[in-house]
């Protein structure tokens, strides 16, 4: 007997080309994160979650943006940065062991910093090698 499958969302079969669904999908806000190492862009990721965890995957936990493969010195914390959607705003908090700057400002641990809309938020993680993030809010 066939099994009911949750992983395949119904809209793929019911609503695929519906302009209203496409429009509402386009209207969803989210965050685009560009990852840079030595000024070279190596990854772009768009995420649409209420909470985005940036750090390093471990055997027991998976993060939304895994910087582990680029962290030669193993200096990145499993949970380095957390971006949270609070109503219409996005906040970012630092939980890392290494220093992190946002828009040239040293981030304090566990303190929320609001991400600015309509431009890029520049984050530098001083890992080995340092990793740059350009965080853009998509509206």
């Amino acid at each position: 007997m066939p099994q009911e499958n949750d992983a395949l969302e119904r809209w793929l079969f019911e609503d695929l080309f519906n302009p209203e669904r496409i429009k509402s999908n386009k209207n969803k806000t989210g965050v685009e994160i560009q990852v840079y190492i030595q000024k070279k862009q190596i990854l772009v990721k768009r995420l649409n979650y209420d909470e985005i965890v940036i750090g390093r995957n471990s055997s027991t936990e998976t993060v939304d943006l895994d910087l582990g493969p680029y962290d030669n010195g193993k200096t990145i914390s499993r949970k380095s940065l957390v971006i949270t959607r609070v109503n219409e705003k996005y906040e970012i908090k630092n939980y890392a062991r290494v220093p992190i700057k946002i828009n040239d400002m040293l981030m304090q641990i566990d303190k929320p910093y609001e991400l600015k809309k309509g431009g890029e938020n520049l984050v530098i993680i001083y890992s080995n090698p340092p990793i740059g993030l350009k965080i853009k809010i998509i509206e």
């Binding site: 066939p2 099994q3 992983a7 079969f13 019911e14 609503d15 695929l16 080309f17």
Partner: protein, 319 residues
């Protein structure tokens, strides 16, 4: 820029210059109403072919239609991700390429080496010939076909359907063009647009009705007439997808055992009964019966096991 091909110059892909590879894809393009397929290579990695597929477009195709083809690709990719069936092509990239009126989404998938079942039928690839005569086209033309090999291919196709069926899906576009036979008769399948959602038996897929964007799933000669009703009645009719699967396997079996000699004729009970089968006389009757049962519009298939049993019965009697 070719009038019907997109411009890949701003992407990391280019159309292959290997004419042999392109010639393999040309018959598929001639038959396809929805997609155009090209053999492409990565610009910095020549000699390794991939398949680029994009919506067939004309100067009148508007940007909305082109953009919506990316939704179709998204559906295919999501299905492939969930089913994790290695016999489907692997998706490599989804890019935008330029055309005069804007961009067209292009899906890049692996190039599957092997013989297209359509050309396998025409060249009597499954001929039961002695090893030293294997490559002699004249000998092959007159030879019987190997029912054992054909049966293996059909069972492989059922096994692919079983993978899909675990997710309430079935492939109703299994025409010979979409089946690739590789070394040792390993079977791979293309034409992922043919994968539809069922409730375990009946088609419940509304997205396929939007033929402007999805294209049609009516394959000439390989789709039973009853499926046409799904389009004309806007999905408000119970169409048994298992019956379509059985019908397509039945007609495929017929074409394989008759070496494709009747592909230009109407496929009906009379054709099945009167045809010349390239089989040992002892096998003819049971193969004929099997085809008649698979393609019988009055049979109501309730499971893939039922279809598999009919194919499996061939072996019991042919040993």
């Amino acid at each position: 820029m070719n009038a019907t091909f997109p411009d890949f110059s701003e992407t990391s892909w280019e159309v292959t210059k290997d004419k042999n590879l392109m010639s393999i894809i040309e018959p598929i393009n001639r038959k396809s109403d929805t997609f155009i397929h090209l053999v492409v290579e990565k610009k910095n990695m020549n000699g390794i072919p991939f398949i680029a597929s994009f919506l067939k477009f004309s100067p009148n195709t508007n940007q909305d239609t082109l953009e919506k083809s990316s939704l179709l690709f998204e559906r295919l990719i999501r299905i492939l991700n969930v089913t994790r069936e290695l016999r489907f092509p692997e998706v490599v990239d989804l890019i935008d390429a330029k055309i005069p009126q804007g961009n067209v989404p292009v899906l890049i998938t692996e190039y599957m080496y092997g013989k297209n079942l359509d050309s396998a039928i025409k060249s009597v690839y499954f001929a039961n010939t002695p090893g030293n005569k294997l490559y002699d086209p004249e000998v092959r033309k007159k030879a019987m076909v190997s029912l054992r090999r054909i049966k293996k291919v059909l069972l492989e196709l059922i096994s692919i359907q079983e993978t899909l069926y675990k997710h309430n899906l079935l492939h109703i576009g299994l025409i010979p063009d979409h089946v690739i036979v590789q070394i040792d008769d390993i079977v791979r399948v293309r034409g992922m647009r043919g994968i539809i959602l069922t409730d375990g038996k009946y088609i419940i897929d509304k997205a396929i009705l939007e033929t402007k964007y999805y294209g049609s799933l009516l394959y000439k000669r390989y789709t039973p007439e009853i499926f046409q009703n799904y389009y004309t009645l806007n999905g408000n009719v119970k169409i048994n997808a298992l019956n379509i699967v059985a019908y397509q396997l039945g007609i495929m079996l017929f074409d394989l055992v008759t070496k494709g000699n009747y592909t230009s004729q109407k496929f009906n009970q009379k054709t099945i009964t009167d045809a010349e089968y390239a089989l040992n006389p002892k096998l003819k009757k049971q193969v004929k019966n099997c085809i008649l049962q698979l393609c019988n519009p009055d049979t109501e298939f309730n499971s893939l096991d039922q279809i598999e049993a009919l194919i499996n019965d061939l072996e019991i009697q042919s040993v």
